[in-house]
Symmetry: C3
């Protein structure tokens, strides 16, 4: 791609040679000839080996290579990267080892890798890639252009939208964790007969688990992105464009509304509700039933970030507080002594 | 099943039509004709579309459908669900792709799915289901009616009791994490040559790991239920009827006695002991060697819930404490002034 | 092996019979005839059934069996265990079901198990063991004598050194978690086109995930040991001889220098740096960008262990602090009363 074409594609104002050939993206510090990089500063501290750089609209630095001015260089960089480094396309193929139920329905141009299974009455949409060892149960629906990376498992009856990416080791639709205890202390399985619905354009990280609903459904909304090793329990409802970082765990029936950002290793109790636009810091703990309003939240149990910081400062100041208290004690003792003396001398 | 048969099965007192046909369980709010639901309130707020409802013995509400009175509606509901929605039975089959050692011993009526392996001298009990891609090492014993969901791995020499369910991606018997450091700082593997014993009726959630003992065994007691993404280290001993929620991690040689309940994302150091009946709240931290007595525990490091709440209240009150301290300082300064003036005027 | 040979191998001073036959290691308390055990005490409290015991150089107890004196009995025990219980050697074999690209290059004496895949242009070093269901992508390099346990996945282009062990369910080189948000709130994937480099002698626990670099590489240094269910994000740099316990998560671009020890369930923000020799306690939280100096660290946010303990003591003492404050208030009120009375009587 020439710089001119890139400028057009990302809607940039180009300064410099418009015919420079670009064939890869790279980090600004490590780029070399043929690479395009990006910079989110208004000036330059170090030179780059890149052949072009995407910069801020108000960039005022000097670079030896062509520059492309846009409002969000990082976004433009991501967009051009998706062209220069498209997702690996595997040629349509159904591997001879694949075990596909006669009643399953495969779309056009699908890639069905080695050692995969597709169960009874399942639908695999056009352009899907089921990589080696991925397993699809019975009655599953996969939308178009989904990618199931190696060793993914999608249990019976789950519904997956278009353009969903499930990374290696993901488990969708295993039983939720629900039991009822009897008089003798034994646990009886509460029915886990619901399903999982994953809307379009969702990406789910390696070894993450999304349990099926107990009676209803577990749902993940359109465009939501979930990192590795996350636990999504039965009947959780996650909205659209939610981001959840690694190792976070969300207990049963909790609702996360649209456009929330959840850090890593966050724990949420059951039946909580995180309202649209809330941001929860890593390692935070949300108590069962808690309503988390929009804003930035931190700590266990979660509180608004400012409160958390203030409280943390108070805790850090405890040594000083105790010293002050000691000082006051001494002063009071002195005053008492003086008062006693006065009383006696009066 | 007719309401009459259900009432008999769960030992309920039936009020209303005894011939109503029930074919599924459903949530009270979403149930429709043919469903049975349950209610754990003594009265009704909203109607249900269910054809029958299991209610508390002292239920005093009015419903248009037959009701079945029992002591624990949720338990009865779980019991009837296990009849109406039995675990999926796969027809006995040994898939042609399965790789089964000649010395392995398969029981009656087993289902051995595609791309599975069963190693040398392993025993697979009657009625076991080894779903696609599950792998069983050498010298493994699986009891009767176990279910290994897709991509489960059971390492050499592990012993699994009857009716054990291992969800997708579970790893049983991988090496524990033990090393000895030499003078130069290099780590040498401490032998991890023990085993794992899982007693009957245990259920283990997706992508959970149970490491083999270093020299002895790691054991999980009968009827214990473990959620997804849990880490059980080498030589851990877990008693009977223990419940462990998702993403909890238990370090080496720690003992959890019978009937404990452990929340999610709890971390336990090594060589700790959780005594029978203890309940540990989510995200709690148990220090190495700690003995956790019966009762409810919370926080890091764990403390009794009441202490934790009190302490939390104190911490939340720190701003007020500091204000009070400031106020006292001012009062003392005033008193000192007055005392000084008095002294001078005397 | 005879005690004499063992003494020579571990460089021990042997006391007792030099011809005793040893064929296994065992724990001191559970050892029986033919076993060798170890003891890290200078004296004996209970007898052992072992046929030989490795003890400290200054051991002064009496045992009925031969003893072998060394500086570090546990290390010597680990060393002799590696001889008596060598890692399982599978006979060289390429299972007929394996799917190996014509352009892949397999070394000598490799074991390629059932249902494995090796992609285009990948190199598998001499003596590698790819157990059942493990998958190797395109352009991957595996050094010599690596073990990929069942269902491991190594994504395209990753580079693995010699003697690396990847336990079951490990995912190496899945996409990192990086997105850029546009004006409408949608997330666009930031390119995840880097790689993962794992140096020699690294061991990685079950179901752990190591994401590929976004643009550069994610690297794990020689001799580093990582436990189960750990999350290593894109572009993380981990030094040599680092130990990381289970369920810890390390965010993007964070650097952990050589010889650090990281506990379980630790969370690290992005772009942090843990300096060589630092030790971080379990469940600690490291804020983004934080530099953690050598020493022992604890808590969230991490602080030096001594500070943490002191702070914890202050927090625990808050009830007392409040009582003292109340007491002072009363005393001050008394003093004020007295002062007022005096003023009035003057």
């Amino acid at each position: 791609m020439k710089t001119r074409e890139i400028a057009e594609f990302i809607g940039a104002e180009l300064a410099g040679d418009s015919d420079t050939e670009i064939n890869a993206v790279a980090a600004y510090e490590r780029a070399s000839a043929g690479d395009i990089a990006f910079l989110e500063k208004t000036n330059v501290e170090t030179e780059t080996g890149a052949s072009a750089v995407i910069v801020l609209a108000d960039f005022s630095g000097q670079l030896r290579c062509p520059i492309l001015k846009v409002r969000s260089p990082k976004l433009a960089f991501a967009q051009i990267a998706s062209i220069l480094h498209p997702r690996k396309q595997r040629n349509p193929e159904i591997h001879e080892s694949a075990v596909i139920a006669a009643s399953a329905n495969l779309g056009e141009n699908v890639f069905i890798g080695a050692f995969t299974t597709v169960g009874e009455n399942s639908e695999v949409g056009d352009g899907c890639q089921l990589r080696a060892g991925s397993k699809v149960g019975d009655g599953v629906t996969l939308g178009k252009n989904c990618v199931l990376h190696p060793n993914v498992f999608v249990e019976d009856g789950c519904i997956i939208g278009d353009d969903v990416v499930l990374h290696s080791g993901v488990v969708i639709g295993a039983d939720g964790f629900g039991y009822v205890r009897d008089d003798k202390g034994s646990y009886h399985k509460f029915p886990q007969i619901g399903t999982v619905v994953i809307e379009g354009n969702v990406e789910i990280g390696a070894n993450t688990c999304v349990d099926r609903g107990a009676l209803g459904e577990t749902r993940i909304g359109e465009g939501t992105k979930i990192d590795n090793l996350v636990q999504i329990a039965h009947n959780v409802q996650i909205g659209k464009r939610v981001v959840i970082a690694a190792q976070t765990g969300i207990s049963g029936s909790t609702v996360i509304e649209d456009d929330c950002v959840i850090g890593g290793q966050v724990g949420m109790g059951d039946h909580a509700r995180v309202q649209s636009g809330a941001v929860i810091g890593s390692q935070a703990g949300v108590l069962p039933g808690k309503i988390v309003r929009p804003g930035v939240w931190w700590g266990t149990p979660v509180q608004p970030l400012d409160d958390y910081k203030r409280q943390n400062a108070h805790v850090k100041g405890l040594a000083k507080t105790k010293d002050e208290l000691k000082d006051l004690k001494r002063k009071i003792a002195d005053l008492e002594d003086e008062t006693n003396r006065n009383r006696n001398t009066r």
